[in-house]
Amino acid sequence: MIAAVVALPAAAAAFQVVGDAIPAPLTDVAGDPVRGRAVVAGRQVGTCVLCHAGPFPDERLPATIAPDLRGVADRLSAGQIRLRLVDPRVVNPATVMPAYFSQAGLVRVGRAWQGRTALTAQQIEDAVAFLMTLKEE
């Protein structure tokens, strides 16, 4: 089991990786699945639907790059999902999936996006809460 504490820039809190999960929420405010749906399904915010298909009837054509998010809560725990959003490179260094709560190793970041993570801690928690509703069984 690997355990590491990753220190983040001043504004963000540190998080603790245990095994292949981040068991503890990043914020004190519980994630809101309704706001989380907007993060995951909105093209501009989370950009998740560029690569993932899921239960999003409004999508024109499903993406085929990444696993379908349907049933993800049957496959993974909240902590495992949290780590995959925060920094999927911890699980798979070669992943094409962006790290949504880490700026480690980023280069040539556009001016408008410099100095901040792709999602905020609360947006991560909201997305995790939404993804935990995606059960098939």
Binding site: T47, R60, P62, A63, T64, I65, P98, A99, L106, V107
Partner: protein, 253 residues
Amino acid sequence: MSTSAWCRALVLLLAALPAAAQERRSGYDDAGPQVRAMQDDDMANPAFLWVRQGEALWERRVGEAGKSCADCHGAVSEMRGVAARFPEFDAARGRVVTLEQRVNLCRTDFQGAPALAPESDALLGIMAVVGLQSRGMPVAVEVSGAAAEAVARGEAFFRLRQGQLNLSCAQCHDQLAGQSLAGSRIPQGHPNGYPIYRLEWQGMGSLHRRLRACLVGVRAEPLGRDDALLGDLELYLAARAAGLKVETPGVRP
């Protein structure tokens, strides 16, 4: 098999193929039948509005020198083959010169006229009519000698994971080409149709505009128009597209 299971199987299958095993495919081959039909028919291809402007401009005497392109080069048909071998490494300047930069160098140095503005109808028109002369010829840029280092720099940029989304050109255009990114098929990313008429833009655009869109898409800093690295990247893209036929002016979704 359910659709999602089928998709997953397809993803695994495609991921297993090494990039080299993929044949070179033009973006034309990945476009839908309506888009291909528009490109196939010069009367239906909206880019020909720009071609007509470019033809007129070719003959127009401008600048302090009072010379037209035709005064130096003859008929525009004399430009056959030029777009197929650009960009080129310019030894005197010590950098890659793209076709667009070459056109504006002629404007400023030989015609004594101001450079044409980026993405202006005039510049796109000249690029379209010059490119059209090479239509059907294989892309064949010089990559040896002094050009080799520029090609290598362009390739390094192509492979660099960058921007807030930390993606490289190669990840999308080698590894994931053919897959659906939010419903649009990812092409191999070849420059052989440029400048293009793009339905989403409802207008014509240069290769630079396309590259800017891809870079901004991954939330990276775009390359400046005069950045030497832009020339290196465009040269690498042309080298990577070697053998594909020039399609200018292309149509894309």
